[in-house]
C-alpha cells in the first residue's frame, strides 16, 4: 500500500513538474518575444542606451527633434549629426566584436 502511494506521488510529481516547467518557459518565450518587440520599437524612436548606462551630459541623445523638422541652429544640427554618427558607430562595433 505504502509503496504504491509513493509510486503514485512520484508519477504525479513527474507529470505535474514537467508540465509546469514547459508552461513556465513557454510563457517566458512569449513574454520575452513581446518585450523584445516593444523595446525595439521604442528604441527606434528614442535611440539606444549609451554604453555607460546613464546618459552622460557629453553624449546627449536628442529625445525631441522629430526627423521632419529641420533643426534651426547650425550648432543643434551638428549635435544631432554627431549623436546619430556615434550611435551608428557604436552599433557597428557592438555587432562586430
Amino acid at each position: 500500500m505504502e509503496a504504491s502511494s509513493l509510486l503514485n506521488e512520484g508519477l504525479t510529481l513527474m507529470l505535474f513538474g514537467m508540465g509546469f516547467v514547459f508552461i513556465f518557459l513557454t510563457l517566458l518565450v512569449f513574454v520575452t518575444s513581446l518585450m523584445s518587440r516593444v523595446v525595439t520599437l521604442y528604441e527606434k524612436s528614442v535611440g539606444v542606451l549609451p554604453k555607460g548606462g546613464v546618459p552622460s551630459p557629453t553624449a546627449v541623445i536628442p529625445h525631441h527633434a522629430p526627423a521632419n523638422t529641420l533643426p534651426t541652429g547650425a550648432k543643434n544640427h551638428d549635435e544631432n549629426t554627431l549623436a546619430i554618427l556615434s550611435a551608428a558607430i557604436r552599433a557597428y562595433r557592438d555587432r562586430h566584436k
Partner: protein, 377 residues
C-alpha cells in the same frame, strides 16, 4: 606508563575507525582528481579537503561545535551559500544569445526531463525495495540531472540534508565529466547531416532588452512560482547588476571576490558531510548511478527537443545545441561547439548553444521550485 597510555589513546591512529580511514582516502582521491585531472578544481579542492578534515578521528571538526559544522549551519542549512553563488552566476550570465533566439528556452525545458525521469527511477527502485528513498530524497537526487551545483545543494539542503554530501559530489563530478558523458549520446541521436546544419547569425540584442529581461523573469516567477523565487530572485538580481552598468563595483564584487569567498566555505561545508557513517553507504552508490542516468536522459531529451523544433518550426536549429539545455554553463555549450566543428570545421555553435545553456539554468531552478513546493506540503 599511564601517561604514555593516555597519549596513545588520544592519537588518531588509536581512535581511527576503518570508515574514517576510507573517507580520508576518498577525500585525497577527490583532491587528486581536482589537482591532477583538473576536475572542477574550484569546488573539489575545498570539498576534498573538507572531507579529510571531517574525518580526522577525535578532532570532531564536523560534529556539533566544530568549525566545519559551523560553516554548514551558517551557510548551507540556512540556504545562504547556494543562493549567494546563484547571485554571482547571475552576474556572470549573458542573456544575449537567449534573447536573440527565445525559442531555445524550449531546449532548456526539455533537458529538465532528466530530473523528473530520475525522480521516477529513484521512486521505482524504492518500490521494488532496492533502496529506501522517500519522495523528498528522490526529488533531491533527480535534481542532479539539472547539472547545476548550487541548485542541487539548495534542494538537497531543503529536502534531504542526509544525502547532501553524496548529491553535491555527484553533481560536481558529473559537471566535470560533461565532455565525456555527452558526446556519445549526442552522436548516437543525430545524423551527420543534422550535425552540419549551420545556424544563422544572431541578431543584435540591445542593452535595454537585457535590462528588462531579468525584471520580466522575476515578475513571472513572483506571479507563478514563489517557491523558485529565492533561487531565481538572486539570479535575476545578479544579472540586473551586471546589465544595468551603473553599479559596476557591486557587479564586479559579486562576480569575483564574493563568489570566490563563498565557494571556499561552501566547499568546506559540503566536505563536512562526507563523514563515514553518512557517505559509506549503499545509497551513495545508488545516488552516483542515478545522477549519471539523470544527466544522460537530460542530454538526450534536449537533443530530441531540438530535432522536434526543427520539424515543427521549419528548421535552422542544429540539434547539437539541444544538449546544452542541461545547465553546466559553459561546459555543455563548449561540447556542442566542439561536435559541431567536428562535423564541419566552419560550423561555430558556441554562441547559439549559450542560449539553451542559460535557459537550462532557469529551467532547473523552476524544476527545483516545483519539487520544493510539492514535497514540503
Amino acid at each position: 606508563m599511564d601517561n604514555l597510555l593516555h597519549l596513545w589513546h588520544n592519537t588518531g591512529l588509536y581512535q581511527m575507525t576503518p570508515g574514517q580511514g576510507i573517507m580520508i582516502i576518498i577525500g585525497m582521491l577527490l583532491l587528486y582528481l581536482a589537482i591532477n585531472k583538473n576536475f572542477e578544481p574550484l569546488l573539489l579542492v575545498p570539498i576534498g579537503f573538507g572531507g579529510v578534515l571531517a574525518n580526522i578521528p577525535g578532532a570532531g571538526l564536523a560534529e556539533y561545535g566544530g568549525i566545519l559544522h559551523i560553516f554548514y549551519t551558517v551557510g548551507i542549512e540556512s540556504g545562504a551559500f547556494p543562493l549567494i553563488i546563484f547571485m554571482g552566476v547571475g552576474a556572470m550570465t549573458d542573456f544575449g544569445p537567449l534573447l536573440a533566439n527565445p525559442k531555445t528556452l524550449f531546449l532548456g525545458a526539455a533537458a529538465q526531463f532528466g530530473i523528473f525521469a530520475t525522480l521516477m527511477g529513484a521512486v521505482l527502485l524504492s518500490t521494488f525495495g532496492v533502496f529506501d528513498f522517500s519522495l523528498a530524497d528522490a526529488a533531491a537526487i533527480g535534481i542532479i540531472g539539472g547539472a547545476d551545483g548550487p541548485t542541487s545543494i539548495y534542494v538537497a539542503s531543503k529536502l534531504a540534508p542526509d544525502l547532501l554530501g553524496a548529491i553535491a559530489v555527484a553533481s560536481y563530478s558529473y559537471m566535470a565529466l560533461v565532455p565525456l558523458i555527452q558526446p556519445p549520446i549526442m552522436r548516437a541521436l543525430t545524423t551527420q547531416n543534422e550535425r552540419k546544419i549551420k545556424m544563422v547569425q544572431q541578431r543584435h540584442v540591445s542593452q535595454r532588452e537585457k535590462i528588462v529581461f531579468p525584471l520580466l523573469l522575476l515578475l513571472l516567477v513572483a506571479f507563478l512560482l514563489p517557491d523558485a523565487a529565492p533561487l531565481l530572485g538572486m539570479f535575476c538580481f545578479g544579472n540586473l547588476m551586471k546589465e544595468c552598468a551603473v553599479v559596476d563595483r557591486l557587479s564586479n564584487t559579486t562576480q569575483n571576490s564574493l563568489i570566490n569567498t563563498v565557494t571556499i566555505f561552501l566547499g568546506l561545508a559540503v566536505g563536512s558531510k562526507l563523514s563515514a557513517d553518512k557517505f559509506l553507504d549503499f545509497t551513495t552508490l545508488g545516488i552516483l548511478l542515478l545522477g549519471m542516468v539523470a544527466f544522460s536522459i537530460g542530454t538526450a531529451s534536449g537533443v530530441m527537443m531540438a530535432k522536434l523544433l526543427n520539424k515543427v518550426g521549419g528548421g535552422g536549429i542544429n540539434p547539437l545545441i539541444g544538449s546544452a539545455g542541461v545547465s553546466a554553463v559553459p561546459m555543455a555549450a563548449r561540447v556542442s561547439n566542439k561536435l559541431g566543428l567536428e562535423a564541419d570545421p566552419h560550423n561555430f555553435l558556441l554562441m547559439h548553444a549559450m542560449g539553451p545553456n542559460v535557459a537550462g539554468v532557469i529551467g532547473s531552478a523552476v524544476a527545483a521550485g516545483i519539487m520544493i513546493n510539492y514535497v514540503t506540503n
